[in-house]
């Protein structure tokens, strides 16, 4: 056909395409030609717009029947498949049972393991400043064995000195673990064992643990102030408002009378810091019996967190540590930073605040999950193909009934 087709006005392309799928017409699409011919006829008679409208109207009219037809037949076939698969399950009870249970257990394991892995990976991600909070690590070289040991224990003076001399560090907070693992919180007759921390006044402004009552900064500013968790407050005071009330606090050798200045929402499980109360560090400093570790570089009982200025790299701050230590005449150890996101999975040193997991176990779990899923799938496939031979008659009937290739797999 060498003649140019531009003499003839073409109907809208989309509409033509839709018509094409509605009228398959043995693959010849002579119907499309018919429509085009009439389209041109109307074009010459009543104008393009009218013809265009007419064409679209035809398409829409045909589509209605086409779609309802499709839906009708596919639901019919689907019903049939449901019935047949149900009958098959009933017919081969044990076979189906092993098959389905195998696949279900495999998938359940896979999902559970992945949920666990996801939980482990989510540690400490919920803090708003999670990217810029770092833990200061202290590295000492033992003279005897020349083994390098890492520790989170840092001296009391370190935090302030860091903030004063390194401009990239915008905020610091010290915490200290109590001398005993559990301490007693007492309100008159009620007393409970709880675990907790001593925390700096900046602690709650660096970490975004949600606070129900109290001020983020002022609640931990004064000596003898304490912030307790929601559940501890409930245990000690019931439904009363605990703000401003005082409680007795007892460790093995220490005893304080504390004022409640705030209430924390219960902590999420995916935090490396877990505590039911926070006592202000000012309490420690005010206690004369603690003077051996206050205002000194020699005793490293505190754990120091720093908030690095947004956008500045951890390595840049770390580069400044040697000159910083020289300035304060500290020798024999080095300091490093550890992002808090890495604490749970990628750290392993002394005086940590919680028992941690390790990345290699996470990888191990992931690979086990995939192996389980793979085995479950192979098992299912194996059993299904073994049965396919006996179901060949069914497939034959289905083909006769006019199912297409894709439907056969269902």
């Amino acid at each position: 056909m060498t003649m140019k087709s531009s003499n003839y006005i073409k109907p809208p392309r989309i509409a033509e395409w839709m018509l094409k799928s509605v009228y398959s017409d043995r693959g010849e699409y002579t119907h499309l030609g018919d429509f085009r011919e009439v389209f041109n006829e109307i074009c010459q008679g009543k104008g393009f717009l009218f013809a265009w409208l007419w064409y679209w109207f035809q398409v829409i009219r045909s589509l209605r029947g086409f779609i309802s037809n499709k839906i009708y037949w596919s639901t019919l076939m689907f019903k049939n498949y449901l019935i047949i698969s149900f009958r098959n399950i009933i017919k081969n009870k044990w076979f189906s049972l092993t098959n389905i249970i195998g696949l279900a257990v495999g998938m359940a394991c896979f999902i559970l393991i992945l949920a666990y892995v996801q939980f482990e990976m989510s540690f400490d991600r919920f803090h708003e400043k999670a990217d810029s909070i770092h833990l200061v690590i202290y590295q000492d070289s033992y003279m005897r064995s020349n083994v390098k040991e890492y520790s989170a224990g840092t001296p009391e003076l370190l935090a302030k000195a860091l903030k004063d001399s390194i401009p990239e560090i915008v905020n610091v907070a010290r915490i200290m673990k109590p001398w005993t693992k559990k301490a007693v919180l007492q309100n008159n007759e009620k007393s409970f064992y709880e675990t907790g921390l001593y925390a700096d006044r900046n602690f709650l402004s660096i970490f975004s643990f949600p606070l129900i009552k109290g001020d983020r900064i002022e609640s931990l500013a004064d000596p003898n102030s304490v912030v307790i968790s929601e559940s501890a407050a409930k245990k000690l005071f019931g439904n009363e408002d605990p703000i401003g009330k005082s409680i007795e606090y007892k460790e093995r050798h220490k005893q304080y009378n504390l004022h409640i200045t705030g209430i924390l929402k219960n902590l999420p499980a995916n935090s490396h810091l877990q505590f039911d109360y926070l006592i202000s560090v000012a309490t420690l400093i005010a206690d004369k019996s603690n003077s051996f570790m206050i205002n000194t570089w020699d005793v490293g009982n505190f754990i120091t967190y720093v908030e690095v200025k947004k956008g500045s790299k951890k390595a840049i701050v770390e580069d400044k540590f040697p000159s910083f230590l020289k300035k304060y005449e500290q020798k024999g150890y080095q300091l490093y930073l550890q992002p808090i996101k890495d604490i749970h999975l990628r750290s392993h040193f002394w005086r940590e605040t919680s028992t941690n997991n390790e990345m290699k176990y996470i990888y191990l779990f992931i690979s086990i999950a995939f192996v389980i899923l793979l085995i479950a799938c192979i098992n299912y496939m194996n059993l299904a193909t073994a049965r396919a031979a006996t179901r060949s008659k069914e497939i034959g009937i289905r083909k006769v009934a006019g199912a297409n290739r894709t439907q056969l797999f269902k």
Partner: protein, 110 residues
Amino acid sequence: MKILSRSEELVLLAIWKLEHDAYCVPIRNRLIKITGKNWSFGSIYDPLERLEKKGLLDSFLTDPINERGGRRKRIYRLTPMGRKALLEIKSIHDAIWADVRGLKPETNKV
């Protein structure tokens, strides 16, 4: 054999009259002209397909035609069986109408 339906009969007759150029468009035009009503494409394709399946029609394709967007025409012809069916329905009509009296267009209009 089953008696033809009214639309099948009309389509068959139209094809018979059109002789060589009996494809969908002229068939439709002719039916619209004769009956004075609008025939959709669907109402032509359906009887055409049915009749072909029954063996009353057969069809062939022409060369691709440019005005039709490079599509062919499917041209229909009556088979001997189709002709027989038309004659049969005509005799049925004649028989039915033979002794009907008093049915005139004027009386209908009142």
